[in-house]
């Protein structure tokens, strides 16, 4: 397997606030090779290897250093120490609108941008039709880019980048832009690109996309590699860390007396063995445990709903509709358990939502949600499997 990229102990430090005078001082420090300036470490000792065909996802919270890492990998900024070895043709799906000349037409800009990216005129001409077709701009390609919408600019930028036929493709949340149909086209293109042996280095906040497109994931936290390995495990660890952070915040908030509410104390999703789980390989049974609390000794009604990640509702039910009474727990808590045997959800990311309703089942007082993902070996499309037979 060809090694495309290798980072050895890469660190990046930025000088803190620079005034005119301190810039001069900084200059002398650079020239003399002494660093006394106060610096902020953005990345420290990152080691990373990318091999052909093994795409890597990069996750982490905002400000963890992901974008700086991508910029170092792509060569826009140089590391303060450590080395980067690039062994392949790489393209960046970052800042897709950069490098266009507003006053020129989309057609002319294809040449301008492609050549900025290092393609020769002959190469551009060869790929011209593909680029125009993929962009889907039609006759607009002969209008000045100044008159394009931001979505159109991005479409043109994406089309040009894809034409470079890179061995390594670097993206940073690029799939979050453009309209839905273009997003789908991008995903489809990336799927095809990966199938043909392409390699992806992707920063994303979508654990779904990361685990779908990249077998390997690196979690960057505070400028360091916090965890790396098989995507499923890393993204799961990341999500549960997030959950902890969030519930720590909520705990603080809930320490203030707030007795006037029916609340969702906890929502757990359990597998058949009774362990917490948010990743299921179909076929699967899932069991939900919802703990609600009531300030007045009256049992609240529990609601549960399932929505897909794009907020399309899949299913909803309340304990009142099924006329179910909760098991009383400690200190005004009420426990509901709900099982979905052989849940027929198709692969994808879903959100479980638990709702605490007042005892009359009229008013929703509190919500809590949990992301779960289903995987399966199936080509069916949609959200749920419907029982069917060919006759």
């Amino acid at each position: 397997m060809k090694q495309l990229l290798q980072l050895n102990n890469v660190s990046k430090r930025y000088p803190l606030r620079l005034t005119s005078a301190s810039k001069l001082l900084y200059l002398f420090e650079i020239l003399l090779g002494k660093g006394r300036h106060k610096q902020k470490t953005v990345l420290s000792d990152i080691n990373l290897e990318v091999h052909a065909g093994r795409s890597i996802g990069i996750i982490g919270s905002n400000g963890a250093g992901k974008s700086t890492l991508l910029k170092i990998i792509s060569g826009i900024i140089e590391p303060s120490s450590g080395s980067v070895r690039r062994n392949c043709k790489l393209a960046m799906l970052i800042e897709l609108g950069a490098g266009f000349d507003d006053s020129k037409t989309g057609y002319e800009n294809i040449f301008i941008k492609s050549q900025l990216l290092g393609m020769s005129r002959a190469e551009v001409r060869q790929r011209l039709n593909d680029i125009i077709e993929f962009s889907g701009l039609g006759d607009n390609i002969h209008d000045p880019v100044r008159h394009y919408s931001s979505g159109m600019v991005i479409r043109l930028g994406f089309s040009i980048c894809t034409a470079v036929s890179p061995e390594l493709l670097i993206t940073d949340e690029v799939l979050a832009v453009g309209d839905e149909s273009f997003q789908k086209r991008c995903i489809k293109w990336i799927d095809g690109y990966l199938k043909n042996g392409g390699t992806l280095l992707m920063v994303s906040h979508s654990m779904y996309l990361i685990s779908r497109l990249c077998p390997h994931t690196v979690w960057i936290k505070d400028g360091k590699v916090h965890l790396e390995g098989e995507s499923h495990q890393v993204t799961q660890a990341y999500l549960s860390w997030h959950q902890e952070q969030r519930s720590a915040g909520q705990k603080q908030a809930s320490e203030q007396p707030d007795d006037g509410h029916y609340q969702v104390k906890s929502l757990r999703c359990l597998d058949g063995a009774g362990n917490d789980q948010n990743w299921f390989q179909q076929p699967a049974d899932i069991e939900l445990e919802i703990i609600l609390s009531a300030p007045d000794g009256r049992a609240p009604v529990a609601g549960i709903s399932i929505v897909r990640v794009d907020r399309v509702a899949v299913y909803g039910i309340t304990s009142e509709q099924d006329q179910i009474e909760p098991t009383p727990g400690a200190q005004g808590e009420y426990i509901y358990r709900l099982r979905f045997p052989d849940i027929q959800l198709l692969p994808g990311k879903y959100q479980l939502r638990a709702h605490a309703l007042d005892p009359e089942g009229m008013r929703v007082c509190d919500n809590r949600s949990l992301d779960i993902t289903f995987t399966a070996q199936t080509m069916e499309v949609g959200m749920v499997r419907l029982r069917h037979e060919w006759v």
Binding site: P15, K23, S74, I76, A98, D101, S103, Q115, L117
Partner: protein, 255 residues
């Protein structure tokens, strides 16, 4: 080094000079002709300093041969000061080495002024100026050498200017002073004896002198000063590159 990226940058740099003007490409010729006319009007007609110190040579051709290389040099250097800041939005987003922008700018200026130099010389000779056409042979090598020299200085200035904001005041001022202190608009023989160091120790003055000797007197054989200029320009170029390389990795810390 001369890859597709540089070609594209050079192309847009050349276009930038006359972009969206009504006369577009005509300015290419019109601008230098107008400049020449004004200088000749001021320094020959009004001030009346017609003696160029070379027998049979009139002021216009004397002026043009000094002025053109200087315009290429000063516009290249002047244009290099804020270049990194000016192009920072691209430097931050695309992995284009920032010195390519500088090369594109200096090459563009030298291409423009070399091309128009030939045109203006042709016009002057049509108007009766005595131009030695054998002297045209040295024009390209001299301009090339001047480009190496200028590019070395531009590399140094543009990289330092990223850290020292005062350069955007200092450099234009320095260029204006240099223009008047060099034998561009005045002939060397008018310089008082005790100020002769202004010419003797000025490498550019030597080159202008050589260009004039070749084109106006047919003396193609370079003097010793010209030979010194070759290692000097190469040295400046190498120094410029080294400094630029050293500093450019910190540009984005500052810009």
């Amino acid at each position: 080094m001369f890859n597709a990226t540089l070609k594209q940058l050079l192309y847009s740099e050349l276009q930038e000079n006359f972009k969206e003007t009504i006369l577009a490409r005509f300015w290419f010729i019109l601008e230098p002709v107008l400049i020449t006319l004004v200088y000749v009007f001021v320094f020959a007609t009004i001030l009346g300093s017609r003696d160029t110190g070379i027998a049979g040579v009139n002021y216009p051709e004397f002026l043009v041969i000094g002025l053109w290389p200087w315009l290429a040099i000063s516009r290249s250097i002047g244009g290099s000061v804020g270049l990194v800041k000016q192009k920072s939005s691209l430097i931050k987003k695309l992995n284009i080495r920032s010195e390519l922008f500088l090369y594109a700018r200096t090459i563009a200026q030298f291409l423009i002024y070399t091309a128009t130099f030939f045109i203006v010389l042709l016009v002057l000779s049509q108007l009766g100026a005595n131009i030695y056409f054998a002297g045209l042979l040295v024009v390209l090598p001299v301009f090339l050498l001047l480009w190496v020299f200028t590019n070395g200085i531009a590399l140094i200035i543009s990289s330092l200017a990223v850290f020292i904001d005062d350069f955007k005041v200092i450099v234009p001022l320095f260029l204006t002073l240099a223009f008047f202190l060099m034998p561009i608009i005045w002939p060397a023989h008018l310089l008082p004896e005790h100020l002769s160091f202004l010419i003797d120790y000025n490498p550019l003055a030597v080159m202008l002198d050589y260009l004039r000797a070749a084109l106006l007197q047919g003396q193609l054989l370079p003097q010793r000063g010209v030979l010194y200029f070759i290692p000097l320009s190469l040295l400046l170029y190498v120094l410029g590159r080294l400094l630029y390389r050293r500093l450019s990795r910190y540009f984005l810390d500052v810009v």
